[in-house]
């Protein structure tokens, strides 16, 4: 079953590898993964869609939360959340089908981002099922090429972010204790 995970993680080298490695080490197949910076440039937001057996879902979240670079891992599968995807699609078209293609694109709310005598490049966003349909329909008009972004998701509820406070190094702790004992 597909699980949608939203991760807030530190933008550090190797952080992506740790997340994907955790999934591959358990034999889970990643359906899609997107990652980009957040408002805080030191943090990234990652949306992952992964095929996980339902009883292992909470285990995956716990393991993600254990990663040192991960600040928060949330399972959005059954939570109030919006999950959307974008597709860029190039369709070759004959002169006689051009109008029909534009009509269909309009129905799906797609935008024309390139237009030539060869055909169109279209941009559409929506949930995965809707985009599947869009792609199917476009295929019926001729040869197409498709690039999908993978799912990006946002939770509709605010979830409190709990962070670990700073701790003294062991050397500093000993010095403090020594200072306290001499007082």
């Amino acid at each position: 079953m597909l699980q949608i995970i939203s991760l807030l993680l530190e933008n550090k080298p190797g952080a992506l590898m740790r997340v994907t490695g955790l999934l591959t080490a358990r034999g889970f197949n990643i359906e899609s993964l997107t990652v980009a910076r957040t408002l805080d440039p030191e943090l990234s937001r990652m949306s992952i869609v992964v095929d996980v057996e339902p009883h292992l879902r909470s285990q995956v979240i716990k393991q993600m939360n254990k990663l040192v670079n991960v600040l928060q891992a949330t399972d959005l599968t059954d939570c109030p959340a919006v999950a959307r995807e974008m597709v860029l699609l190039r369709v070759r078209s004959q002169i006689q089908t051009r109008t029909a293609i534009l009509k269909e694109a309009e129905i799906f709310g797609a935008r024309v981002v390139d237009n030539s005598t060869e055909g169109f490049a279209l941009e559409a966003t929506g949930d995965t099922e809707k985009l599947d349909e869009f792609i199917d329909i476009m295929r019926s008009y001729g040869e197409i090429e498709v690039t999908r972004s993978g799912v990006v998701a946002v939770s509709l509820e605010a979830k409190k972010l709990r962070l670990a406070p700073p701790v003294p190094t062991s050397g500093a702790r000993e010095r403090e204790e020594a200072a306290a004992s001499t007082k």
């Binding site: 993680l9 530190e10 080298p13 190797g14 590898m17 740790r18 490695g21 080490a25 909470s58 285990q59 716990k62 393991q63 939360n65 254990k66 990663l67 040192v68 670079n69 991960v70 600040l71 709990r162 962070l163 670990a164 406070p165 700073p166 701790v167 003294p168 190094t169 062991s170 050397g171 500093a172 000993e174």
Partner: protein, 572 residues
């Protein structure tokens, strides 16, 4: 200050007194700095053993063990040790050299992607890109290795970082916002747990390595005594309860005792403390403690519900949570008074009955040295006080069954990963950390031959490690399985050509001896212990002895095989 000196300064601040390592091309600047530095460097003979020795140091003290290797082959040789520490949650910091920053990614000489390779072998790892980050990273590494659920952390340092000059500014604070430790335990859950314990009719304490990591054995004992519950300790938890404690049953699991496994099967409350319901303990999971509600206490939230659903989970540090539990239980004892007295008495009667029915008793023969006999003689000398290290296999299981441990951190073995060749280098680390303690390294003839090079380390440093090779001429545990489950087709398990122990030890400059008569056993062991230096005792034991009880793979733990199903004909 050079990066190398900054690193050493940080290690001093972390209280490091010894590093187990092996130098190489890219760590030359570090080794040059170590040349006249107070931190002691112990030169091992293979990097894998550097990590095992660091584990021996860490397991016997609770402090972080440190090992060091060069780039490429040095780093890849550490891998087994890193995974070993990861599986058993042992605090180890590994420092590896890396090729000069500019050469990374160019397939340079002795380059390996250590950072990538060790991602899944460590709790966390670092690649240092800037000498200014070095102090922060080193202190973070020690903090990560030793806190929460401990584990190995690797710091990969390019050669130019060792050489770079920088102004050293001490780091006093670590901030890892994503690294959360829930140590205190949920107060309500703790209270509910105490009530469940007090109300149980057939409670059973199942304690593991987490008790030892948390230094919580005193709290565990108090809990067990307050509840007057029978208790078992897993392979990693042996020593958490003193072996001679009246409430201590023994080890559960695949080669656990009959009483331990039967008691778990019949308990109505399983109090799981610092354990992870490992498959070697549970056997067929669905049939493990089938009548019991489970209280599961662990510092690692991911362990809760991983294998067995907990009826009452508590995420927390064993020491802190157990002392809170004990306070509540003592209050309950005072206010509520004893509960279910007759049921509890009946439960103890049952447990004692199982103990009497099939006690763990060593096989002894007049004509050949039985391996169990050897172990119980070592136990007699140790009296529950010596450090004993082992590899993996039959000798490990017999040691776990027949050696008593009165304190934590005496029993040092490779549990989760089950690495052959662990025992000897681990004994080196343990002996360095405990110079005045008696250290036995009980190893099989297979594992011993994987770590023979370390005899040089032992000899060079005059470490008085007592090496006992339980020599049955086979890879005993593999042979046992071939015998029982593969029609006795003994495929590639015969270890012929074991060297003459006296000559072998003599070649390294210390004493060695081979014995095969049970009449010599006691005096040979005494001679070995009386020797002030290292000693290699090769004990030829009966070759076809098997470890029992045994739960066949996939079986429930109450479905134990208690002895050989049929006498096996010894092939000449």
């Amino acid at each position: 200050m050079s990066g190398a000196l900054i690193l050493l300064e940080c290690l001093v601040r972390e209280g490091v007194d010894v590093i187990f390592g092996y130098p190489g091309g890219v760590t030359l600047p570090l080794y040059d700095a170590m040349y006249d530095h107070p931190i002691r460097h112990v030169l091992v003979r293979h990097e894998q053993n550097a990590c095992f020795a660091a584990e021996g140091y860490a397991r016997s003290t609770g402090r972080v063990g440190v090992c060091c290797a060069t780039s490429g082959p040095g780093a890849t040789n550490l891998i087994t040790g890193l995974v070993d520490s990861l599986m058993d949650s042992i605090p180890v910091v590994a420092i590896t050299g890396q090729v000069t920053s500019k050469l990374i990614g160019s397939d340079a000489f002795q380059e390996a992607d250590t950072f990538g390779i060790t991602r899944s072998c460590t709790k966390h790892n670092f690649l240092v890109k800037n000498v200014a980050d070095l102090p922060q990273i080193v202190h973070e590494a020690f903090y990560l290795a030793s806190s929460g659920r401990p584990g190995p952390v690797l710091v990969d340092i390019p050669k130019d970082i060792f050489q770079a000059q920088s102004h050293y500014k001490p780091v006093d604070e670590i901030h890892l916002p994503g690294y959360k430790i829930y140590a205190d335990g949920h107060t309500g859950q703790i209270r509910r747990a105490a009530q469940m314990m007090w109300d149980a009719e057939r409670p059973m304490v199942y304690a593991g390595g987490g008790i030892i990591h948390a230094e919580a054995s005193a709290e565990l004992q108090t809990l067990v005594e307050t509840l007057d519950a029978p208790s078992v300790c897993t392979l990693m938890g042996l020593g958490a309860m003193p072996s001679n404690h009246p409430n201590f049953i023994s080890m559960p699991g695949m080669h656990g005792s009959y009483a331990a496994n039967m008691a778990i099967t019949h308990a109505d409350l399983l109090i799981a403390l610092g354990v992870r319901f490992d498959d070697r303990v549970t056997g067929r999971l669905a049939a493990f403690a089938p009548h019991a509600k489970v209280i599961h206490l662990d510092i690692d939230p991911a362990e809760i519900g991983k294998n067995r659903t907990a009826d009452l989970p508590i995420v927390g540090d064993c020491k802190r949570v157990l002392s809170k539990l004990n306070r509540i239980l003592l209050e309950m004892r005072a206010t509520e008074g004893p509960k279910n007295e007759s049921a509890r008495r009946a439960w103890w009667g049952q447990v004692r009955g199982w103990k009497d029915e099939h006690p763990l008793t060593p096989e002894i023969s007049d004509t050949e040295i039985k391996p169990q006999h050897l172990i119980s003689e070592i136990d007699r000398i140790s009296g529950g006080e010596a450090i004993v290290t082992s590899d993996v296999g039959q000798h490990q299981m017999w040691s776990a069954q027949f050696v008593r441990f009165n304190h934590p951190r005496l029993w040092i073995n490779s549990g989760g990963l089950g690495s052959m060749g662990f025992g000897l280098p681990a004994a080196i680390g343990a002996q360095f950390a405990n110079p005045h303690k008696l250290v036995f390294s009980i190893v099989g003839d297979g594992g011993f031959q994987m770590s023979i090079p370390e005899l040089a380390t032992i000899a060079n440093n005059g470490l008085p490690v007592k090496i006992v090779v339980m020599n049955n001429g086979y890879l005993g545990m593999v042979r046992q399985w071939q015998e029982l489950f593969y029609n006795n087709r003994l495929s590639s398990v015969t270890l012929d050509g074991f060297p003459d122990a006296e000559k072998l030890a003599g070649a390294y400059g210390f004493k060695g001896r081979t014995i095969e008569s049970p009449l010599e056993l006691r005096s040979a062991l005494e001679e070995m212990v009386a020797e002030p230096g290292p000693y290699l005792l090769n004990v030829k034991v009966s070759p076809f002895e098997n470890v029992y009880p045994m739960v066949p793979a996939g079986g429930a733990i109450n479905e134990m095989v208690l002895r050989n199903p049929q006498p096996v004909a010894a092939s000449d």
